[in-house]
């Protein structure tokens, strides 16, 4: 017991005396969360747009004022002719142009259809899609108002309703994703690197020759990173609730419980990696390429799993982060209880036990 305690102290010495790693360990989650939560977001506010009103009648004025009043758009410039549109796009001042056809009001009230052209700068296709959606929504909104006043019997209504995330907040996808990624990064990569470092330095050999039990060596490696992971989870959750405005709908205890399972899974993966390789660089590359990439690509964090080709959907099942992210979303956003996530929890638990068994087996082989 005392040996273990001494060794944990030693591990913390290693961590605290390496300022750069320290900074990465504790700062990375914050930076990542803020970047993904604020900077990289599908929300676009105060986008500069141009208006070309070829009709200049009452209706178009009303629609324009709706654009003006929207948070999403600032009318940067009012154009006079079609020729000016391209120039404005090229200058980069605007991202969207709204063009009203001539005789707009007349067309709308007499032939029941009038045209508005939305021209978007599609150099960034995602942003363009978002902007067009926002603009369509504003126009749709106006049309709804108009129809209700006139009590027309047939109205075309497009209803958009965003379940769980009505404001389409970026945090709702980035928080579970960042948790899945950061915990894996810290627990898996740092654990594997710190074990492999002892091999590289030759101290592992000294420890194996000593009466120190190998499992104590490993345990003392794992515990500090478990603690740091818990600190990180706390930071992430505090940030997401208080800064990003993403409340925890479900039980916080349940959320912490599934997170601990996930951390165990990540730690055991780290030990497993450390048994495969003898170099810190290799351990880092395996952790980064072998784990981070699948987390980003296949966990459903960035790309929806349902849209993937079948083969990738199948592969995505072996990515632990996928199950963890599903559970975090269920508990945090939908507010589900254990009955809603038990399947995922069992899968993750099974993976964890599998990794632990394999790494214990492999570690013994290495000692022989």
């Amino acid at each position: 017991m005392k040996q273990l305690f001494n060794f944990i102290k030693k591990e913390f010495h290693h961590i605290f005396r390496d300022y750069r790693s320290m900074l990465v360990l504790l700062g990375l989650p914050i930076v990542q969360l803020l970047i993904f939560g604020f900077a990289i977001t599908n929300e676009t506010k105060n986008t500069n747009i141009a208006i070309l009103d070829n009709a200049k009648d009452e209706t178009t004025q009303q629609i324009i004022s709706k654009f003006e009043n929207s948070d999403y758009f600032d009318i940067e410039i009012t154009l006079k002719s079609n020729d000016e549109i391209e120039k404005e796009f090229k200058s980069g001042k605007i991202k969207l142009a709204v063009v009203f056809q001539e005789d707009f009001q007349n067309e709308l009230f007499h032939s029941n259809k009038a045209q508005i052209q939305l021209i978007a700068d599609a150099t960034d296709p995602n942003q363009a899609t978002t902007l067009v959606n926002y603009a369509s929504a504003i126009i749709q909104d106006y049309q709804t108002d108009l129809n209700s006043e006139n009590k027309l019997p047939y109205q075309i209504k497009t209803e958009l309703r965003m379940l769980y995330n009505p404001e389409l907040k970026g945090a709702y996808t980035s928080v579970p994703g960042v948790m899945g990624m950061i915990l894996l990064l810290i627990s898996t990569m740092m654990t594997s690197i710190s074990i492999v470092r002892e091999k590289e330095l030759g101290t592992m050999e000294i420890l194996l020759v000593s009466p120190m039990k190998p499992y104590l060596v490993i345990l003392s490696k794992v515990i500090p990173y478990f603690v740091i992971s818990l600190i990180n989870v706390t930071t992430i959750l505090l940030l997401s609730v208080h800064i990003l405005g993403m409340p925890i709908q479900g039980s916080t205890i349940l959320l912490i419980a599934i997170t601990i399972i996930y951390i165990f899974c990540a730690l055991s993966l780290g030990i497993l990696i450390s048994t495969i390789t003898d170099s810190q660089l290799a351990a880092m590359l395996i952790s980064l390429l072998g784990l981070m990439l699948p987390v980003v690509m296949l966990s459903g964090y960035v790309f929806p799993v349902a849209n993937m080709p079948i083969i990738l959907q199948v592969i995505s099942n072996i990515v632990p982060a996928k199950w963890y992210i599903i559970m975090v979303k269920s508990v945090m956003i939908k507010g589900l209880g254990i009955s809603g996530i038990w399947k995922e929890a069992i899968i993750l638990l099974g993976m964890t036990i599998f990794f632990i068994i394999i790494s214990i087996k492999r570690f013994k082989i290495r000692l022989a």
Partner: protein, 247 residues
């Protein structure tokens, strides 16, 4: 004089698939002796040593360390030996004191013993001013001496040194050997591998390994006489010339 046998091997062999790294070596080492384990690179001495200290399993053959069988009593053996590896193997980001305390604790010494012994050790090595500095800041020679001191900190019966003086200047090497003599004088058996033939002269007895086999084993003076050589260097060259492997 009745000499106690502390290392005894019987046809100890290590095979890596087709390659026989260590081929049926049989020898004995006596208590308090400085035993030089020589051989060219690739001769198999590190592999042999790894089997003796219990981090590599022999393919066949037997060995006993301090009277304990290396197959069955590994835990007992671990407590009776000290080991200093080829690579410098203290924690560079821990202080001198922290390293001593850590390794003292690993070998089951209690806190008060560690405190008393580590102060004495720091005094002896003249590291009073460096005791709370990181090991990384020490010159290599001091690190080696510290590593050796830590390897025998728990007063083991046998200490295994794997090329302990690599990359150290001649003066420090001499001082290092003084420490080895002192340890041997205190009854610790020293099992040392080395490349330096002048160091071989300091040993009580040496064995010379060629291609996984012990070709010669005797005191340096006897070996020189047997091979009609002026120095251990000549003896070594004569034996190692026949080697088929190595780098």
């Amino acid at each position: 004089m009745q000499k106690e046998i502390v290392i005894k091997t019987d046809k100890l062999t290590k095979r890596f698939s087709d390659f026989v790294a260590v081929n049926e070596i049989t020898f004995e080492v006596y208590q308090g002796e400085i035993f030089g384990f020589l051989g060219a690179n690739g001769a198999g001495k590190t592999t042999a040593m790894k089997m003796l200290i219990g981090i590599s399993k022999p393919t066949s053959g037997k060995a006993a360390i301090a009277g304990y069988d290396i197959d069955k009593n590994t835990e007992e053996i671990k407590k009776s030996i000290g080991y200093m590896s080829q690579k410098f193997s203290l924690y560079e980001d821990l202080t001198v004191k922290e390293n001593i305390t850590l390794f003292g604790g690993i070998y089951g010494l209690n806190d008060s013993d560690i405190k008393i012994k580590s102060e004495a050790l720091i005094q002896k090595l003249g590291l009073q001013n460096e005791a709370d500095k990181l090991v990384a800041s020490l010159p290599l020679g001091w690190k080696q001496k510290l590593a050796f001191s830590i390897a025998i900190f728990h007063s083991p019966k046998i200490v295994f040194l794997d090329e302990p003086t690599g990359g150290v200047d001649p003066i420090t090497r001499r001082q290092f050997w003084d420490m080895i003599y002192e340890a041997a004088h205190n009854g610790i058996t020293v099992f040392v591998t080395t490349h330096y033939m002048d160091e071989a002269e300091y040993c009580d007895r040496v064995s010379i390994m060629v291609d996984g086999v012990i070709e010669a084993l005797d005191s340096p003076s006897q070996l020189k006489q047997n091979y009609n050589a002026q120095s251990m260097d000549e003896v070594f060259l004569m034996l190692a010339r026949g080697a088929k492997r190595g780098d």
